[in-house]
């Protein structure tokens, strides 16, 4: 090192302090180090967060199924051989499942045992059988192996969340059920299969029947309403204020107010939505329409500020050039300012929409916290959104909802990534150099 620094010292001026120069370089290196450390810390935290969520949530993407030999008994399904879907749809499929289980474990004879045996299978398993019978009435009278969801407790047992080595009273599965499970497992009747229910069902009190599709559709509809309402309004306001409005006390007042509105806590907008949209206008409760309107109120100031900055950043020479060839003010804005400001506006939009996507407090105020099983079909149907769904599941006592909560967060993150990727693609198309 001394060999390296020696020749450099030659070109230094003797009257300038050597130590001071060294301190200056040291300060620079230190600053770089702080930067690297800060980024490393941020990435580390993000990594911890993602790993912890993913490691908790990934198991919700598979669901334990049990293979049962079901006899589609015509006596139970359609005793009069009518072939009428109404009759087939109303048949007692639970009995078929119970019979099948009874055949496997003839030792379960008492009423209590038979009940415990039936509890191994999900309360929603009969849907699978009913749909099979409705789709193909030809299977009535035959016997075949059908894979149905197990109950959430058995699912947790399969995934290793329920310990076997504790006293019977301290776990959700009885010793008998354990023995039956082991018996089923020995016959290869237990398997983990992809959890389609999680992706195509609405909410449910039963974890194995609960899905995020309802919340996902609700989120999509709410975001759509938000975007449609606040994007044009925000951009138009920004352009008017920047390009057309006279600069006077009124516009100053408006500007101050917009900046202040951006700092108002979102729950206040929720209260406003509750009082105005639900209370005064009588709009439907829990609806994506109202959710989107409330989120629009929250986002508008952000959109306006971001759009104004983007519009302001368009070089004045472009405006002068267009005015110089005789473009009207509106033509200048539509042909030049807006396209050039679009990348900046879209960046603001991405940040705003990501913010809205994670918003739950104001939506609680307008009733989007309700327990809603049906998939919303439109913006006035009752719905919930992903963050609220996460909140609801995190609040549920069943062990199986823990992994589903994490899985719902993963879905939320995926939704965010898809949304941002779309916006980035869109921005690319607008980006131009000048």
């Amino acid at each position: 090192m001394t060999e390296m620094t020696a020749p450099r010292a030659v070109i230094r001026r003797p009257d300038l302090s050597e130590a001071r120069v060294r301190r200056r370089y040291a300060a620079e290196r230190r600053f770089k180090l702080y930067g690297v450390l800060a980024i490393a810390l941020a990435i580390g935290m993000l990594g911890v967060l993602l790993v912890s969520i993913a490691s908790k949530g990934y198991s919700a993407f598979v669901q334990t199924h049990v293979g049962l030999d079901i006899t589609f008994d015509p006596e139970v399904i359609d005793p009069d051989n009518t072939g009428d879907p109404a009759v087939i749809g109303l048949a007692n499929y639970d009995k078929l499942i119970r019979d099948s289980l009874g055949n496997l474990f003839p030792d379960a004879t008492s009423r209590q045992d038979r009940r415990a045996l039936a509890d191994l299978v999900s309360g929603g398993a009969f849907f699978t059988l009913r749909n099979m019978a409705l789709d193909d009435p030809g299977i009535i009278g035959t016997t075949r192996r059908v894979w149905v969801e197990t109950s959430d407790d058995l699912d947790m047992l399969r995934k290793g969340y329920i310990p076997r080595d504790v006293a019977e009273g301290e776990r959700r599965v009885t010793d008998k059920q354990l023995a039956w499970y082991d018996g089923l497992d020995a016959q290869d009747r237990i398997s983990l299969q992809f959890n389609t229910t999680f992706f195509n069902a609405g909410d449910s009190r039963e974890p194995e029947l609960a899905g995020v599709w309802g919340a996902l559709v609700g989120t999509f509809l709410t975001m759509l309403v938000t975007l449609v309402l606040s994007f044009p309004l925000g951009v138009a306001t920004a352009i008017y204020l920047e390009e057309f409005a006279p600069k006077n006390r009124w516009t100053d007042l408006i500007e101050v107010n917009i900046n202040n509105l951006a700092a108002v806590p979102s729950i206040v907008f929720g209260l406003l939505g509750l009082a105005i949209f639900l209370g005064f206008f009588g709009l439907p409760r829990s609806a994506p329409l109202v959710g989107g309107m409330v989120l629009s109120l929250i986002l508008l100031p952000t959109f306006i500020i971001a759009s104004r900055v983007a519009v302001k950043a368009v070089p004045p020479s472009i405006r002068e050039a267009a005015l110089g060839v005789g473009a009207s003010k509106l033509q200048v804005v539509l042909h030049h300012v807006l396209p050039l400001a679009m990348p900046g506006i879209l960046t603001g939009t991405i940040i705003g929409m990501a913010h809205a996507l994670g918003e739950s407090a104001p939506l609680l105020m307008i009733g989007m916290v309700a327990f809603i099983v049906d998939i919303p079909g439109g913006i006035t149907d009752p719905a919930t959104v992903l963050p609220v769904q996460v909140y609801l599941w995190a609040d549920s006592p069943e062990r199986a909802f823990v992994e589903r909560t994490s899985a719902a967060i993963l879905v939320l993150l995926a939704f965010l990534i898809v949304m941002n990727a779309l916006a980035v693609l869109l921005r690319r198309r607008f980006e131009r150099r000048w």
């Binding site: 600069k247 050039a321 110089g324 060839v325």
Partner: protein, 271 residues
């Protein structure tokens, strides 16, 4: 906006120079930017098919005057213009006058080349398009070609009409801006220090071009370079502190200035 007295206006017409025809005639033009009095009672005539150079030290109001001629000062917050400016005998600050139409008649080239971030073709075609000149694609193609030819740029860009205009060199960009201005077929072209951002070779090309354009257009050019003013213009006006100190034939101004301030400026004693 204070309109001139009717008597004042009729006063102007007979004062036209005997030789070339007066195209633009400014009388008692005052401009205020807020509390700043930028132009003080400016009287100036600009002849048709001539190049008029406006010279003077920085901040003397020559660019302000230039921007009055196509009402670009309208868009500046707090700018106030008083007096009369006639183009072909019509007051351009008349209440009924359409500013957009005025700017189609009076084109402008700016100090810094400012092509649109679009293709070369679209840069030139933009003006004709918004004014509805050139009905079909073929007609527009022709306008673009002739404009680029007149701006002396056609040979260099004819194979890259779809490349971005911002990708050209500085001198080419400025000639593109000139092509864009003449594509609308104006009568007057205003140039605000068009060569200040260009190297000497590009400057020489633009000066040559200005001399050719004089045949079809009336040109008003603001310049800091007295050599440039001497080379390209037929008439010169010397501005100082918001006033027109002296105007006359370029040769006269540069060889025998009447005012000592003019003499001081052109000999480089101040400015």
């Amino acid at each position: 906006m204070v309109l001139a007295q009717a008597a004042d206006v009729s006063d102007i017409a007979p004062r036209a120079h005997p030789g070339p025809q007066v195209k633009i005639s400014a009388r008692h033009v005052n401009v205020h930017y807020g509390s700043k009095h930028a132009l003080k009672d400016v009287d100036l005539d600009i002849n048709q098919n001539q190049v008029a150079a406006l010279i003077g030290p920085s901040g003397c109001g020559k660019s302000t005057f230039l921007r009055c001629l196509n009402r670009m000062n309208d868009v500046i917050e707090g700018a106030r213009v008083e007096g009369t400016i006639l183009i072909d005998g019509k007051d351009i600050y008349d209440r009924d006058l359409d500013v957009v139409m005025l700017r189609a008649r009076v084109g402008m080239v700016f100090q810094k080349p400012n092509p649109f971030p679009k293709s070369v073709y679209d840069n030139v075609a933009y003006g004709p398009r918004i004014h509805g000149i050139g009905a079909g694609r073929a007609e527009l193609d022709e306008i673009v070609q002739t404009s680029l030819e007149r701006a002396g740029l056609w040979g260099e860009v004819k194979d890259r009409l779809n490349d971005p205009g911002t990708g050209l060199s500085g001198g080419q960009q400025q000639r593109l801006c000139i092509a864009r201005a003449i594509a609308v077929n104006p009568e007057v072209i205003l140039m605000d220090e068009p060569c200040s951002a260009l190297d000497p070779i590009a400057t020489a090309r633009i000066e040559e071009l200005i001399d050719e354009l004089r045949e079809n257009f009336t040109i008003v050019i603001v310049t800091h370079s007295m050599q440039q003013a001497a080379r390209v213009s037929q008439r010169t006006a010397f501005f100082h502190l918001g006033e027109v100190v002296e105007t006359g034939d370029t040769e006269e101004i540069f060889t025998s200035p009447k005012d000592e301030r003019t003499q001081g400026y052109i000999t480089g004693r101040f400015g």
